[in-house]
């Protein structure tokens, strides 16, 4: 789960991390007042769950309260389109207005989970304010990587070492190390998946400060952080993905595909997507209905696939286990009836009550091509997409 920058800033502040003075505004007038409080000079930043805001016009430096209001007016209520958003962009409902900081140096520090180290990994660099992936690709030696100990966490001496290696001035190594240690505490105590400060700045008056902050959280651990879960902003998500998420389905919309996929199991779902490709088409989505889905959940999954306007055909691949194929078939029929779709379906059903399920689909009069395995599915899909039929 992602949160907005202003929310991340508040979490960091509660952990003693130095951040610029800032406030959040929902109207141009609120933005004006915030800028006034900072003496007029400020930065106005659109609050969206996406990077690349600067180039997209979502970050504006202003030198008067009026300019702040104007900048806010230009963002609020509009959609911001960056290279990280979906094509229509994401809505801006709030802007953050922050005091300007006189920057002496821009650094980078982030913490992610590292599967090989089996522990949180601190990545830091002297090259702040840039796209860190480019830095990693072009000048990998400018990235310092230090794993926290899985049981005792990031040692203060490691934090100090990182601060020295990325070029924090010697007199500021101690506060910088404390800041890095506190980021690691946020990561661990809040079950974060990412804590990224870009840039971490050294100011001209000798402070170390998190100028921009991005924090993501592990969905699986939100149950123990209700205060974090409450920060979710569903509007920032793709509408179909949000609907699927609310229904407890693992669904990912894929741009430009025309074959909807409905599968149980993540691995089999990826395999099914790959199979559509061999049939000459792109998958429109990833969808795992999970192990023990009931009829109405299957129906909801089917409706989500159908309501994707890119989808022309649906590939159903279910392996009955805990999931019973007859139950799944009834769900599909329910979903088809609810949506009134006549879309062609290619269906592979194996395992528990597979024949019963296929019979239910046949009896319902849907446009179904039944196949026995993945290979046949690819062939059938090619036929369906080229206008052939069963």
């Amino acid at each position: 789960m992602n949160i907005h920058e202003y929310q991340a800033r508040e979490i960091l502040e509660s952990y003693g991390v130095a951040v610029p003075r800032a406030g959040v505004a929902s109207t141009p007038d609120e933005a004006r007042k915030l800028a006034e409080g900072f003496g007029g000079r400020a930065v106005v930043k659109a609050q969206v769950h996406a990077g690349g805001r600067g180039k997209a016009g979502g970050v504006k430096l202003v030198s008067s309260p009026d300019e702040a209001a104007e900048a806010a007016a230009g963002m609020l209520g509009k959609n911001l389109i960056t290279h990280q958003t979906r094509s229509e962009g994401v809505p801006v409902r709030k802007v953050m207005v922050a005091e300007l900081t006189d920057i002496a140096d821009e650094l980078y520090v982030a913490i992610t989970m590292d599967a090989d180290a089996k522990a949180p990994m601190v990545m830091a660099s002297s090259e702040g304010g840039m796209d860190i992936e480019e830095v990693a690709a072009n000048t990998p030696d400018k990235i310092v990587r230090v794993a926290a100990d899985p049981l005792i966490g990031l040692s203060p001496y490691h934090a100090r070492d990182i601060a020295m290696k990325i070029g924090v001035p010697i007199d500021l190594v101690r506060p910088a190390a404390t800041l890095i240690t506190n980021l690691a505490r946020v990561f661990q105590e809040k079950d974060a998946s990412l804590v990224e400060i870009n840039p971490l700045v050294v100011t001209t008056d000798g402070k170390v400060m998190a100028l921009d902050a991005k924090i993501g959280f592990e969905d699986d651990a939100l149950f123990r952080h209700p205060e974090i879960a409450a920060l979710e902003d569903p509007e920032q998500n793709d509408a179909l993905e949000q609907k699927a998420h609310d229904a407890g389905l693992a669904y990912v919309k894929l741009d430009g595909g025309r074959v909807g996929c409905m599968v149980n199991g993540a691995g089999l779902a990826m395999a099914t997507m790959d199979i559509t490709k061999t049939a000459g088409a792109d998958p429109a989505n990833f969808l795992d209905v999970g192990g023990g889905a009931a009829e109405d959940k299957i129906a909801e999954a089917f409706e989500i696939i159908v309501s994707d306007s890119d989808v022309e055909a649906i590939l159903v691949n279910l392996f009955g286990g805990i999931l019973r194929c007859d139950v799944a078939a009834r769900g599909i029929v329910m979903g088809a009836n609810n949506t009134g779709t006549q879309m062609p379906l290619v269906v592979a059903m194996r395992g528990t009550n597979a024949e019963e399920g296929l019979q239910i689909l046949a009896d319902a009069g849907l446009n179904v091509t039944t196949v026995g395995d993945l290979g046949e599915a690819a062939t059938a899909l090619t036929q369906v997409l080229s206008g052939g039929s069963n």
Partner: protein, 291 residues
């Protein structure tokens, strides 16, 4: 010989809720010797009138000599259940639970590192060995046939797909192991590859990987240096976009190494016979075995 379980396997199942009870029942039906259940509020009662239920794992192990633990508890309590089973000295612990917080696994994996317990999972389908009628987990027993191909996979249902393909081509399986879809898990590809390499009941290996992480690379390295038996590989997620999680917590492309194409390239360099699509895993194995 075989791997992980044998005729002396004595299964303990922790977490006898709806799903856990259903699956424990299936394990028994397959022929597995389940000797104990654990449920704090049902201690002193019996599971299916035949298997005693205990309040704690330690009590269950002491009373029954259980030597394999299987966990179905909800994700929020899964790490604690693993630690309870490790502390009780179970040599093999299989955790099916999906959605275990990754920080819990950081702690748990570090805790068990120097303990004598092997952990399989979490978020895995477990393992099954047709020759001894041993099933520890949720892999459907009816799709397997006894034979000499070992299967190891990060995925559940995709494993079933591969097993069905093998079985339909008359190629039986020695043991089938799901290592799970989480980024931080216990037993790895390398661990299972080593077991299959040393297993006199296994002649060839199917290894099914996916996007995300670098575990397939580590497997390739190991295969190149240590595995003499033929390996058929498959990597799914070629059509997955970067930065999006494909269901499995670990299935996300975060860099070049996480790409399916990259993993396929490295596996092929290591001498693995990579199936062109997930539909032809069985066919590839038949080809490799010269059938």
């Amino acid at each position: 010989m075989g791997i992980l379980i044998d005729e002396n396997t004595r299964l303990l199942v922790q977490g006898l809720g709806r799903d856990g009870s259903f699956q424990a029942s299936r394990c028994r039906a397959y022929g597995t010797n389940m000797v104990a259940g654990v449920h704090p509020r049902r201690g002193g009662t019996m599971f299916e009138d035949e298997v005693p239920i205990f309040e704690t794992v330690a009590d269950a192990v002491a009373a029954t000599g259980a030597n394999v633990g299987l966990i179905f508890v909800p994700a929020s309590g899964a790490a604690d259940a693993i630690i309870e089973q490790v502390d009780a000295g179970l040599p093999l612990v299989v955790c099916i639970s999906e959605g275990v917080p990754v920080q819990d696994m950081v702690t748990t994996l570090a805790y068990i590192e120097d303990k004598p317990t092997r952990l399989l999972g979490p978020n895995c389908p477990g393992l099954i060995r047709p020759s001894t009628k041993g099933k520890i987990g949720i892999i459907p027993g009816n799709i397997l046939s006894e034979g000499r191909v070992g299967v190891v996979s990060r995925s559940g249902t995709l494993t079933y797909e591969a097993v069905v393909q093998l079985t339909e081509l008359g190629i039986g399986q020695s043991t089938c192991v799901g290592i799970g879809g989480d980024p931080l898990h216990g037993t790895t590809f390398v661990d299972v590859l080593e077991m299959f390499e040393n297993d006199d009941e296994t002649d060839a290996i199917v290894m099914i990987g996916e996007i995300g992480g670098t575990k397939e690379q580590q497997a390739a390295e190991y295969i190149k240096n240590h595995v003499t038996k033929p390996v058929v590989g498959a990597i799914v997620g070629q059509t997955a976009p970067p930065g999006k999680r494909m269901g499995h917590a670990g299935a996300i492309i975060t860099g070049k190494a996480a790409l399916a194409s990259e993993k396929i390239r490295i596996l092929e360099e290591a001498g693995v016979h990579v199936a062109e699509s997930p539909a032809v895993i069985g066919a590839k194995m038949a080809e490799v075995l010269g059938r």
